[in-house]
Symmetry: C2
Subunit: 208 residues, 2 copies
Amino acid sequence: MSHTLGIRQAQKQKTRQAFLDAALTLLEEQSLSSLGLREVTRAVGVAPTAFYRHFRSTADLGVALVDEALGSLHPMVRTTVSTTGDSEERIARAVELIAGHVAAHPAHVRFIARERHGGVQPVREAIRAQLQRFAEEVKAELAKDPEAVGWSDDDLLMLAHLYVDQMLITASLFLEALEGPEEERERVTRLATRQLRLITIGRGHWLD
Amino acid sequence: MSHTLGIRQAQKQKTRQAFLDAALTLLEEQSLSSLGLREVTRAVGVAPTAFYRHFRSTADLGVALVDEALGSLHPMVRTTVSTTGDSEERIARAVELIAGHVAAHPAHVRFIARERHGGVQPVREAIRAQLQRFAEEVKAELAKDPEAVGWSDDDLLMLAHLYVDQMLITASLFLEALEGPEEERERVTRLATRQLRLITIGRGHWLD
DNA sequence: TCATCCAGTTAACAACTGTTCTCTGGAATT
DNA sequence: AATTCCAGAGAACAGTTGTTAACTGGATGA
């Protein structure tokens, strides 16, 4: 079913990806609402009007970036929460996984953190929808756990949102610590680990 | 010691406040990094060059807005955490207080949520510093509680950050629910209450 | 092979940006 | 009363912006 794209379609997708990459780089030092169309085309090395062949507006480009940044992350989140083992091990693994993802894709993480509450409505909406999906997936995994017996669906979703928000806060802290010394990242790891631990303890005594 | 300002100084402060107000309004639909100097002066009804009499740049204006939005909030946070009574009552009161603040100052809350991870470094730094202060103040209040015996300073600060971040997340949710029906705000209240409850439970069993 | 398609180009548009320098008129100081 | 000060005005600057229209030339499909 994997139809080899024609030369034309392939070249178009290549240019489109160049737009996304250039935009992501430019967005490291500004917000999407100040990103100019000409600014992006200049960075790609293409005429300003070429932009319209791929996106209706910079907001449209932003929505595409949300999909790139979060779309491929769902499998990872699923397996993170569902991995078996001691809860302490699971926490450590989750924190390391976040740290690794931030180190591997800092610009993507920065973009999501920045535009989650940013000045472009369609982008905020796209991020909100993806995070909602994350929360529901986390909830589904939590429901499998033997600890979840007696929990209402509402409470499970409440906990899932707590975990998802905590994941974003932690990612943002790792991002700030990226340029600094290893010691700084170690501090974030310790902080995030203990916060997750406290939440997990609360989870364990929820039904008392 | 309250020296009555001269006509001149008074008028200057009035204009300065007009800049802050106009900027805050404009920032409801965009980020600071896209806010133009001329845009603000136009909204105030003053010549573009007048801007420089008050601020070096829009980033400078942003820092002033951070102080306006968060500077006067410290007493409130202090009393919120320290109020006596059942922990369940305290949680309910804290959530209501957040809801009230968001309803009273939505633009300020939106500005902080947006620019906390926004594209203007000095503003991010100013917000970070204020939130650090909040966390330390919350920690100081937590330390007074009998429940805090046996807790290390590090763990208290960890918990304080958890509360502060949770406060911001809740404020942001109330903001999104502002335009919607009362029912929506009720949903946020229930969610935030239960999340705080879970954290508080975790706190109670931390030393087990 | 030939007609069609379409990603990217070129040129031009009115409108906008931040910043400079010079000026003004009323408040503040002496 | 005479002088200094200074918040704001005015005009001009070189650059920038998004969007339009008409185009080119190589890939595509008949």
